[in-house]
Subunit: 348 residues, 4 copies
């Protein structure tokens, strides 16, 4: 049997949808872009232009009925994810869904079960795992180069906050932004988070506080393997998108530094100057978006497990929920409190 | 009136005592080394050799009676600090004391009051404040270059743990090791810590756990100005002494990278290689020890306030005590719980 | 009048030809890949696969007769460039030609004249000018940030030598490899080279010497604006592709550091380790190949001068010829000796 | 027999003399500062203050008659070096002389012979060899870590030119400034220079040209082992003292980066900013001055060869003389032309 080309429909033609559509159109061996779908005609038209996509739809249910679509990439608003996944699974489509699957732990559990029952694959879009530098750090950790992991540090700061309306629908900083760091933490250490303590503040913009959210956070994580973690977040770094991780262990440390658009250095009487980090996630993670979709295509066509599955999607949400609860209640929160089936804290 | 040379006695001829004695002997304008004191004759002889110090003593009380001694540098074991300070103050000597003043907040308060009453100066040896790089970071923060501080990060990892007997007498990792970071936090942000959450673990050596201490810690700090802080500590970094800080604010970030014994780069088929950090505090902070003593001499001879006073000594201990309590009780601890006169947490 | 899409034929489907074809197929607005041509059927088939190119040819003269081809990209062997350019110009095609135009200064002069007469554009593939980092250095120089340029340094070292047969047909290290640095020198300083002194050696592989070439070189350049330059080359750097430049002037310095596939750092007991440079030109200059073709399309469609023209192609060859003569005669060679119409040396 | 303390007289109490005197006074085991000598009373008084030097002299010949002086450090003007060395050798003193020994190759040969005849040691002050970073590069080369050396690069740029009167007496840029790089070249490669090609220009200040000197230079070196070298110099780098070397060979590269007064990083909307290099040689090479004198004391007291001897002093001058001749005659100059006893160029 020969592996055949996987025919994709991208659902949601916003910023992320266009990235996936562009990659699927030309740059992913074994995949082709067959359809694009968006409820907003202008979005659809703007995205379709230049992609030469054969079919466009305004209703995703029509896409799911199309036998020429093998797989869907769900880039619709978060509050639609669960229904679209369930429908796509019922239609037998392979599913790639942007993070988060849903904001409710219970719903995600139900979705994961249904997907399993339907026998389709569900991959969650934690694209940063596919960034070459983070992957290198993970490889060094997995190869034992840092020894037993003791301390994880993640700094994750955006160049600027999203619009207030985005904030209101986002589920809050932990479910929207830190969720990437929670997944990164699990990925880098290959160990489950057992307890979370989070402190958050509104320091960037009072409007974010009025919207019921925070813009600055520091989170302490405890891991099942005994390691400790510290994450810090800000919605606004004046010098650009700051994305650093470090895993410190008994034998050494592996870290990821920021990346820059160029490597120039300028020296004058005031000092030594070099470029700011790459502007934001579209630039910083362009390669990771491409590589994650290649990994999905590869997993589906070779009938292997996807590298980021529904359980990964669930755990990151569970940690985020615990973090939000920790801030609200000003105390450390055990993961089992929000998701009883998670790994219990080790006795101390 | 001409400023005259300040005549020093160094009390305690161990590792730190010898550093201060060596600096006072030759390298500090306006100071001279007049006496050295240690209860262990071998220590005293070893330290005196090569310093050409005029007088040696085995009992510090004799030193305090010597009218040719203007100032004392207290490098004796921590549990003797309070008595020596009180005696030195009674004798009218100017006092420089290694950190911590004492492990008890109440005792430090009493000492500070007594020192004030006696009209002598007490400076506490938080030498890292005098490191040129940390001083530069502080200057950038003070000059408003980072804007309003939002996040403080400190990574402080030793190359290897001290002997078990040292651990047992140390007061624990927070009072012995993290105390430097607590002082650094207050110094860099110029704002008081209001709440502490600490997680600690024994990951480096079970013997440290048996001694009742921790070797790995992650600490979250809340500051009166609204900023949040994250500190991580380890007693053993395979790659050497890791001493980094970063202050992130509304307008930018100021950070201190590690320092190395040389700036070579070696490139081969395996990658790009450069030197490990300077080995340990004697190397990393050699300059800061010299500069702090110059600052003390300067403050005393010009009759100005010392740059690190008894209150600084007290606050760092209070934060450390709160951190230890936080670990024990698995909850965030307000500074006012351990030191009621500290700045209260802002209402949120 | 609306700008229409420029229809391209790529002539020569080797390594570079495939890069240009791939870029033209999907990634360059205003361009489309219409035809591919190679005399070796396997090359042609391998390159055409996956590009969905409408037409393939084995004889470039047929391509030139095709009215649906507006522009050609010449990636055939160097010794065919001059004839293909002349034929393409006669056919009225816009021309992009890989470097060098030819190894003979006289022939290049004739070609440039003919191209001018025919009224088509000829751009030469000095792709490195379009690397974002070198472009940034050029911008800093052009903006006066380094003041008057005084010293130019270029280090250019390959990860490994090409096959011996390639060496034999290459025209020698200066016309094959250093030619890029000579063009970079003119680009960065925007001043003509007036004199060259070159020293070369066979240190990497005696086979290169047997083939009549050198594998290691150090070149001193004198510029019309008074600046001095130093270039060093090697055919084999154990640590990978080393591509650095620096322009030093009265007000400062602008430099380009190497680029790496990732930004990880690994620290252990042996030191601090990071990634080697990007492997070779295909990786290091992937972006510059794309950007140079965009610039060509832009120049043609907007009817503007191409950014690297026939004179640039000629000058780089003239400097290379002077360098080879300098090595042979063990003396500095003036550019006017090999190309009398070049800028004369200033009187000293 | 026990090694006894070496009693030193420093001749010449200018900038360098005071550095050596300060080091000898306190910081060099096995040495003591016994006498200081300068013809200018103010110089002498200024230098003696704070050093507690037992004896001061205005005439070096009196110093040489003092039986309590074992060794002299010659920091007098260059044109007096040869006479002082000859007199000191005649008096049986051990000799440390600042570079250059003399500007005449013939005179240096005669001095070296006389010193050998008298049986005293003569060490020349090429202090940079004792810089920890350059020493590390040398160690890597000596250990074979770069394989066979192919290319040497040295960048050496001062923060600003010396006064015009200094320039006039200096012997020119090659004998005054590049001489350090010539010695560094021989030290790093452990191979003799066989041929020199130098290009020089007046780009920094026309007054330097009027004084008959150059302020900018690029030098190509050929070595007996086949390696090639490129040195660039400037009398004025706007960003400070730029001191870098790199040795590239068959197995890798070892390089020395600049050193900075601190390791802070400041990030804002304009980029990433760090400190300029250490200001000038007094700061950059403070440690090397100390370590070279320790090496001299060590060699004399253990009766071992000095690490930088009269032949090293001679060879650096010979290369400088060849460089000056190369500029004047606009051609490469063989070392044997200026110093017939040097290693001949290998036949090519």
């Amino acid at each position: 049997m020969t592996t055949r080309t996987l025919r994709f429909a991208v659902l949601g033609a916003g910023r992320i949808g266009r990235i996936h559509a562009g990659n699927l159109a030309h740059r992913i061996p074994g995949a082709q872009l067959t359809a694009l779908c968006d409820v907003i005609p202008e979005n659809l038209a703007a995205a379709a232009a230049g992609l030469a996509v054969p079919k466009t739809f305004s209703d995703y249910r029509e896409v799911l009925r199309d036998p020429e679509v093998d797989a869907v990439v769900i880039c619709t608003p978060t509050n639609t994810h669960s229904q679209v996944i369930l429908d796509a699974a019922a239609a037998g489509k392979q599913i790639f869904c942007e993070k988060p699957i849903d904001l409710s732990i219970g719903k995600i559990q139900a979705i994961n079960e249904e997907v399993r029952r339907r026998g389709v694959r569900l991959m969650v879009g934690f694209n940063r795992r596919f960034d070459p530098t983070f992957e290198k750090v993970r490889e060094l950790v997995a190869a034992g180069k840092v020894g037993e992991p003791h301390i994880l540090r993640i700094t994750s700061r955006d160049p600027g906050p999203p619009p207030e309306e985005y904030i209101r629908a986002s589920g809050g900083i932990f479910l929207d932004m830190t969720i990437h760091d929670f997944d990164m933490a699990r990925y880098l250490l290959a160990s489950e988070v057992t307890e979370v303590y989070a402190r958050a503040a509104v320091l960037v913009d009072p409007a974010i506080g009025k919207a019921g959210d925070w813009d600055t956070a520091v989170v302490t994580l405890s891991f099942a393997n005994g390691a400790l973690g510290a994450i810090d977040n800000s919605r606004k770094a004046a010098y650009g998108y700051d994305q650093r991780v470090e895993v410190f262990g008994s034998a050494g440390m592996a870290a990821a530094r920021n990346q820059t658009p160029d490597t120039h250095v300028y020296c004058d009487g005031a000092g030594i100057h070099s470029a700011q980090p790459l502007h934001f996630f579209l630039e910083r993670y362009a390669e990771s978006y491409l590589r994650e979709m290649r990994a999905f295509v590869d997993a589906v066509t070779r009938q292997r497990p996807v590298p980021v599955d529904g359980n990964d999607g669930l755990m990151a949400v569970a940690i985020a929920v615990a973090a939000a609860q920790s801030v609200a209640e000003r105390r450390p929160v055990k993961l089992t409190e929000v998701y009883p089936r998670s790994v219990p804290c080790p006795a101390v």
